[in-house]
Structure formats: C-alpha cells, structure tokens
C-alpha cells in the first residue's frame, strides 16, 4: 500500500488534489472578504423596481437564497466543501433553482472548443514556422518572421480581437459583427446536422483566429530557439554523417526533440488562455465560460464564481499532471533516468 502511495503517478495526483483544494480555499476566502453583498445587490434591484419596504425586500431575497451569506465564513466554507465532496456546486445565488453544475456544463463546451482549436492550430503552425526560422536562420525570411512574431506576442489578444472587429468587420465588411453574437444562430436545433455545425464554426471563428494570432508568435520563437539548440547536438551530426534522408532527420531527429519542451509550455498556456477568455468572449459576445464568469461578477453570484474558479483551477492543475505523466512517454530519456 505504501509503495503504491509513494509511486510517482500517485504522488503527482495527490499533490494536484491538494493544490486544487488550497487554491479553492484561497479564492473562497478572498471572494467572500470582498466588499459588496449579493443580497444587497438584489435588494437594491427590488427596491427600485417595486418600491416596498427595505426589511420586506431583504427577507424575501434572503429566503430565496441557497446559502446564508450572513453565516460565519467557516460555516459557509464547510458547507461548500461538503457539497463539493458530493460533486454538488450548489445553486446560483441570484437565480435560485439554477444549478451551477448545469450552467457550467452549458457554457464550458463552447470555450473548450474555441480555446482548444485556437491552441492546437497555433501550436502546429508555430512548430512548423519555428523550424523554418531555425533552418533559414539569419535569412530575410527569419528576420521577417521574427518581427512578425514579436508583433503577435507583444500585442495583447483582446487588442487583436478589437483590431479584427474594427478592421475586418467594420471597415472591410468581411463579416457582420452583430450576426456573430452567441455560439450559434438562434433557430437552429443543436444536433448533428450541417447547418448547425457550420453555424457553430462560424461563430467560433473570430475567437479562434484571435487565440491563434496571439499565441502563434510565442510558439514560433520558442520552437526556433529549441530547434537551434537541437541542431548543434551530436546525434544530428551523426545522422547527417550516416546519410539519412533529410526528411527523416528533420522530422524524427530534430523536430521530435525540439518540440518536446514545447509540450510542457502548451499545458501551462492552457490555463492562461482559458483565463484571458473572459475578455475575448466579451469582445465577440461569445457565450462561453468567461462570459458566464463576467455575468456572475456583475450580480455578485458567489457560487457561480466559485464554480468557474474550480473548473479553471482544475484545468490548469490537471493539465500540469497530464504533462508530468506523459512527459516520460514522450521523452524516453526522462523515463530511463527516472528509473535509475
């Protein structure tokens, strides 16, 4: 038993769970300590809309809440933790009856689709272009691509988004910004039909392009420096001396080894891109998890915010676990030294 507990994968997973718990505790306390109370927000709304007495409005709002915001922080935390163990994220504070889990399941897939597609496309493109830059280093192609890459990494992704909207959407009129709100055209039935799938791709297109443009430069520059250090390795010289085919050297020797460190960075960047999705999804009015988070903040919906944080933290931590566990499989050298 203790040998199982001490084995590498179990250790990593345990550590990950602890990290998630710690981060959630931290954000729980932080969010609850912030000024502004969801009850007050709702009471204000009712007061302005219906004009009833403050106490009456307060009681009505408090009664409709799933949790008691006046309970002590510790009680609230324990209650939340107990629910979490049963995989229950509670109900939305401000719209009672809506379960946070359902809401997250409704919004998350769109974000996963857009962010995932954006990251994959930029990663593959970046590896190809980065290797090109390394092979043609100090040529004008290399300089042009380097400058291009600096522009792409330097300019924030939401600025890219705004530029796309302003220049392509409004000035050149390539697409109608207004029609691309949401995640698919209203009136289409979600399902496996061509019209729906096309609509989904159409609506995700702009966020995806934004994610690709803003992430591509980083992959290119990293892949270039990684490739350049691999090109100096002895095994590449030996492979060339053995007269192996160029394509084989490029793909199996240089490409595979040079892209290894980038896989770790890919898992790290997932967290960053997911997080920055809040702004991107607001700019394109794309209804993903970032949009959901922003909506919850405006009404101070603690449980929903907490739910989104759990998902984001879990994604970051699990991506790291995935990287740790698969790295040995991707790079046999690490596996061997680990066993010794």
């Amino acid at each position: 038993m203790s040998r199982i507990l001490k084995s590498y994968p179990v250790q990593i997973v345990l550590q990950a769970l602890l990290t998630i718990l710690a981060v959630m505790t931290f954000t729980f306390v932080l969010i609850r300590l912030m000024p502004g109370n969801p009850i007050e927000v709702l009471v204000e709304q009712i007061l302005t809309n219906e004009g009833i007495a403050y106490e009456e409005a307060y009681d009505r709002v408090a009664a409709s809440f799933d949790i008691d915001p006046n309970a002590s922080l510790l009680d609230q935390y324990l209650a939340w933790l107990w629910d979490l163990l049963r995989l229950d994220l509670g109900e939305s504070i401000t719209s009672p009856g809506t379960r946070v889990v359902d809401e997250i399941l409704r919004f998350l897939p769109w974000t996963v689709f857009a962010v995932g597609a954006g990251l994959l496309i930029s990663f593959v493109l970046g590896i190809v272009l980065g290797m090109l830059m390394a092979y043609y280093r100090n040529s004008s192609l290399d300089y042009a691509l380097s400058l291009f890459a600096s522009f792409m990494t330097g300019i924030p992704n939401y600025i890219w988004g705004l530029l796309i909207v302003i220049v392509l959407g409004i000035h050149l009129n390539w697409f109608s910004v207004g029609e691309l709100r949401g995640t698919y055209d209203p009136g289409l039935t979600p399902g496996f039909n061509l019209a729906f799938l096309w609509s989904v791709v159409e609506h995700a297109m702009l966020p995806i392009v934004t994610y690709v443009v803003s992430a591509l430069g980083g992959w290119m520059l990293n892949m270039k420096s990684s490739t350049m250090s691999v090109l100096n390795e002895d095994y590449v010289n030996v492979a060339e001396a053995r007269g192996l085919q160029d394509s084989r050297i490029i793909f199996s020797y240089v490409g595979r080894n040079a892209s290894l460190p980038l896989f770790t960075q890919l898992t790290i960047s997932i967290g960053f891109v997911l997080g920055s999705g809040v702004v991107i999804e607001e700019i394109f009015v794309y209804w993903g998890i970032g949009h959901y988070l922003f909506q919850s903040i405006t009404v101070r919906d603690y449980t929903s915010m907490q739910g989104v944080f759990l998902i984001l933290t879990m994604t970051v931590v699990l991506a790291n676990v995935f990287a740790d566990l698969t790295y040995g499989w991707l790079d046999p050298r690490v596996r061997i030294s680990g066993e010794r």
Binding site: T27, M34, V165, V278, F294
Partner: protein, 398 residues
C-alpha cells in the same frame, strides 16, 4: 561617472547593431517623450464641441466665402472690418477670439432648424452675401454642401459658396471623439498613468520574485520547501479571472493601486526561474571561493550572485511590465478599472461602448488607443528580445 558613461556608450553600440532592438529602444524613447514630456506642451482637450463629433482624422476648420471673393479672402486678416459667420459650440468660436476686435462676428447656432439659425442658414446667408465669410468645419462642409439632400439648396450652395482656405484651422491629427474633443491630445495625456501602473506592477512582481527566489535557493531547507509550495499554489491560481473578480468587487479608486494588486499576483513563474538560476549559480567556483573566504550569505547574494543574474532579471522585468499592461488594460476593456484618469484604456472602453466602432467616421476613437497600447507592447517585446540576444551569445551566433 565616466564608468557609467562608458557603459552607456557600450550599450548604445550593442543596441545599434540589432535592428529590431533599435526600433524597440527608439520606440520606447518616443513613448517616454510622448507621455511624460509632451503633456507639458499640449493641453488636454476637455471641452465638448458639438459640431466636431467623431470627426475623422485630418478634419479642420476651413474658411468658406462667396465664389466671387475666393481670391480676396484667404485669411482672417483679409477680412478686417467685415462680417464673419461662426457656428457656436464648435472650435471656430475660440479660433476667432484673437481677431474679435477687427471683425464683426455673427453667431449661428449649431444644428438647430427649430431653435434658431443653424449652419445651413449660415451657408444660405453666405450664398446671399449677408455675411462675407464663414468658418466651417470640414466635416460639416462635406455633409451640408457636397452631400446636401435638398436639390434646390445644393444647387444654390454649389453655385455661390466655395472654400477659399482649406487649411485655416489646425488639423486635428487623429480626429475627435463622441464629444468633439481632440483625440490626439487625449493620446498625449492618456499614457502616463497607464505606463506608471504597468511599471509598478512589473517592478513589484519582479522584486517579489527575486527576493523570494533567492531566499529559497540560498537558505534552502524548510523555507525552500514552504516557498516552493507557495509558488506552486500561486501558479495554479487562475490569475486573470481572479483579478477580474477582485477588480469587479472592490472597484478601485486609484489606477496605481491596481498596479500593486497586479504586482502582488504576478510573481510566481519568475520566482521559479530565479530560484533555478540562483541554485545553479550557487554551485559555481567563484561562489565556492567566496564562501571559503568566509564571506557572509548576504554578501555572496548581492555581490557575487545577483550581478550575474542582472541580465536575466532585467529581461524578465520588461516581460513583467508587458504582462502587467496586458492585465490592466484587459480589466479596462471589461469596464472594471477606475475611470477617473482618462487613459488610453478608458478611451478604448468608451470607444467600444459608445458605439463608435460601428461608425466608420468614429473609428479613430477606438483605433488610436488600440494602436498606442499595441505599439508600446511591441516596442517592449522587441527591446527585451534584443537584450536577450545581446546577453546570450548562443542566440546571436548562427
């Protein structure tokens, strides 16, 4: 002092050899002049001018006269003793102030066929020679003369009225915003707070990273374990969403305070890198030598190790500044940052929310701050990458 000078000269020779780095460096110098020096010379335009709303870049006040006077009246001096029409609530009134004693000024109200004589009336008066000249904004000229919908009026104006001096007023370089205020003056004044906030965030996070990273690596033991665990914890926090939540709930009064918050959250990744650097430097011979000489740990840290990391730290400082800028402006775009300073971010926010995005004439209101922020970031990245190449000979050589 000569030592410092020599170093500066050496740095300059190095950066001059790197084209991209030179562009970045000169760009940063330009930004410094633009945001810290130019505000002393350019006044912030805070007065709404209704006739100049969302004027496209390059718009200006022009002098319109009767066709027969086109050769005679080219400047306000030529018009001494004559009657000039000016539309109130435009930049024109302020423009004519120095000449007020020499001219008879007839005021027309802006855009009010109901409330009083408007620009169209002024143009008609000019066509009928009731006034001898008129100050008109180039966009109004376009709208009311060239694209006049009323065919009769169109004919009358075209036959009788011309622009005799198209460059009478100063050109507003970037056009005007939804209140007719000069965007260029906002760009000049809107960078300082934003850049200072980014600097605070970047410097603070780098400072924390250097202190914690070197403490962990130099002292080791339990402290190292605690600090490393803390760093791993902070790394797993979704930082930008957390900032969004905190900024949304606290609603800051002061932009600079936001920089402090950004700095307090921004250090973990760099701390790990610094710790690794110190760990490897610690094993070098010169540190061993210092240790066997019995020098104290602070001495070793500040005199032996830190100087060897200075290039690494300064490059990462620049990247920290870019990410502080990223986070800060991201919050502004969401409308969660303080709006008491009229920064590029706030311009961008208003440019987006006031619908100017969808008005081809008003595009400058959103595009100007976008370009100001984007180019600032690009300059920083170009400069940092050039530093990287300068400090790391492996990257320089093919």
């Amino acid at each position: 002092m000569p030592g410092l000078l020599r170093r500066l000269i050496r740095g300059w020779t190095l950066i001059r050899g790197n084209r991209a780095g030179l562009i970045g460096f000169l760009g940063l110098v330009g930004y410094f002049l633009l945001t810290f020096i130019l505000p002393f010379f350019v006044e912030f335009d805070g007065s709404p001018k209704l006739d100049e709303i969302t004027a496209p870049p390059g718009s200006r006040i022009q002098l319109a006269v009767h066709r027969e006077d086109a050769q005679r009246f080219r400047s306000l001096e030529d018009l001494a003793g004559r009657t000039v029409g000016v539309v109130t609530q435009t930049g024109g009134l302020g423009f004519i102030e120095p000449y007020q004693d020499q001219l008879t000024v007839k005021r027309y109200r802006w855009n009010s066929r109901v409330r009083g004589p408007g620009i169209e009336l002024a143009l008609k008066d000019l066509a009928n020679r009731k006034i001898e000249a008129m100050l008109i904004f180039s966009k109004s000229w376009e709208d009311l003369v060239e694209n006049q919908a009323d065919p009769e009026l169109h004919k009358l104006l075209l036959e009788n009225v011309v622009i005799s001096n198209p460059t009478l007023g100063p050109m507003s370089l970037l056009g005007t915003d939804t209140q007719g205020r000069d965007i260029a003056s906002h760009i000049v004044h809107g960078g300082r707070v934003l850049i200072l906030t980014a600097l605070i965030g970047g410097v603070l996070s780098t400072l924390i990273a250097v202190i914690l990273g070197s403490l962990a690596a130099m002292l080791g033991g339990v402290l190292d374990q605690i600090l490393t665990a803390l760093t791993n914890l902070f790394l797993a926090i979704p930082r930008f969403p957390l900032l969004v939540v905190m900024a949304g709930l606290i609603s800051f009064e002061n932009t600079l305070l936001l920089g402090v918050l950004i700095g307090l959250l921004g250090w973990p990744a760099l701390m790990r890198a610094i710790r690794a650097q110190v760990l490897s430097l610690r094993e070098r011979d010169f540190v061993e030598a210092a240790r066997s000489l019995g020098l104290s740990t602070p001495h070793i840290m500040f005199r032996e190790i830190l100087p060897n990391m200075i290039s690494f730290v300064s490059i990462n400082l620049i990247f920290s500044i870019t990410s502080a800028m990223y986070e800060q402006v991201g919050l502004v775009v969401l409308g969660l940052a303080p709006i008491n300073d009229y920064t590029w971010g706030i311009m961008l926010f208003f440019g987006r929310t006031r619908g100017t995005l969808f008005n081809p004439d008003g595009i400058s209101m959103a595009l100007s701050p976008v370009m100001a922020i984007a180019l600032f970031q690009v300059c920083l990245v170009l400069f940092a990458r050039a530093l990287e190449e300068m400090f790391d000979p492996r990257l320089r050589q093919p």
